[in-house]
Amino acid sequence: MNERRRPDTPRTDPAREGAGWSPSLGLLAVAVGIVLGALAWWWTSPTSAADVAPAAAAPPPTVPVAASPATDAAPPVETAANVSSPAMRMAAAPAPTPRIRRTRDPDGDQTPDLSDYINEGERATMNEVIDRLHLAGVQSGLGAFSPPGTRPPLVGLAVPEDFPLPEGYVRHYQATDDGQRIEPILMFAPDRPFVDAAGRPIAIPKDLVVPPELAPPGLPVRRITIPARADAGTPGR
């Protein structure tokens, strides 16, 4: 048990000498995995890609500003953590134009701000911005607002300006989020009962929008359409 090994004692088991060197398949698989992981990290790293490929030769990357070399500043830790998840999802999206370059003074305030959630050159919609803020756990600032479309414009019967409104009806005007007037619709006046010709109460829709079957006589029945966005492609408000 306490026998010391003699200097001439072979270090290997004689029984294994004859078999020669034989690698472990498990260890080999781990090694290959590490190499592939390192290659994948290097390939997807924005900094590495920018270092290797000239900007003019590469397609415009959609990368988070916080990790962009254009800032020449170390991004705040919280910002990088918050941005990485939503921004990485944008990696496969086509790069919008025009390209907007943002810079941050490396000696200035590094407090995370809204631009940390917008890829460089991207014109994100307000819905996208709010969604990314929420995914990052930000519920304050813009993250406190409901996204556009929470209460979409009402669609109802068009009521021409020269149509004389009978008692109990209202001409209701709306606007799109980009400032376009929507054709007025016909609605019931609020807080009042409605009866039919026999004096029986009529159930009216909760949103007070007049359905075609309750349109007043003489009104051409036509539903309005909401105008398409006039500023498609520009950031939401």
Partner: protein
């Protein structure tokens, strides 16, 4: 309960503004009150709902939550007459509506746009669309009180205007 809290908040917004030498453009009244006399009390609803300098908190809150409660209506159906209403609120159910061009601030990386005036005549100080959009309504309310000219040797006027918008600035 909620209305009482809103009324209290609105009162102190305007009251603190008064104490500091500001004038208050009461957007709560401008947005939530109709532009006609809907309850027959002899006053246009939006005027009757306004904060009045000298109001006590209890008087103001009682006026809003009880006396004139029936004249308060959500701003997504602002009545300019008994037969015409305008939605003052955008689809996010928060920001006021507007019309015309916009100026985009730099939060998305650039500042673009222009805001040239659209009207040259203002009957009684009002543009033709003063009560048809939320932003235009707020703009008119702010225009009704002018700050006095700066005074020599006193570092300029400390009087200004303050809006107690019920919505956040865009």
């Amino acid at each position: 309960m909620f209305l009482a809290k809103v009324a209290t908040m609105n009162y102190w917004m305007c009251e603190f503004a008064r104490q500091k030498g500001f004038q208050c453009a009461d957007s709560f009244a401008q947005y939530m009150g109709a532009d006609y006399d809907s309850n027959g009390d002899g006053q246009v609803d939006a005027d009757a709902l306004r904060y009045v300098a000298g109001d006590s908190e209890s008087d103001y809150v009682t006026r809003i939550t009880s006396t004139l409660r029936s004249t308060i209506r959500d701003a997504n159906a602002h009545f300019v007459s008994a037969t015409s209403s305008y939605d003052y609120i955008q689809s996010d159910d928060t920001h006021p509506t507007y019309t015309g061009g916009t100026v985009t601030s730099g939060i998305f990386g650039s500042t673009t746009g222009s805001g040239a005036p659209r009207y040259t005549s203002f009957t009684d100080g009002k543009s033709p669309i003063w009560n048809q959009y939320g932003h235009e309504r707020m703009g008119w309310a702010l225009s009704t009180s002018n700050p006095p000219p700066p005074q020599q040797g006193k570092g300029g006027s400390r009087r200004a205007k303050m809006s107690d918008e019920r919505t956040a600035p865009t």
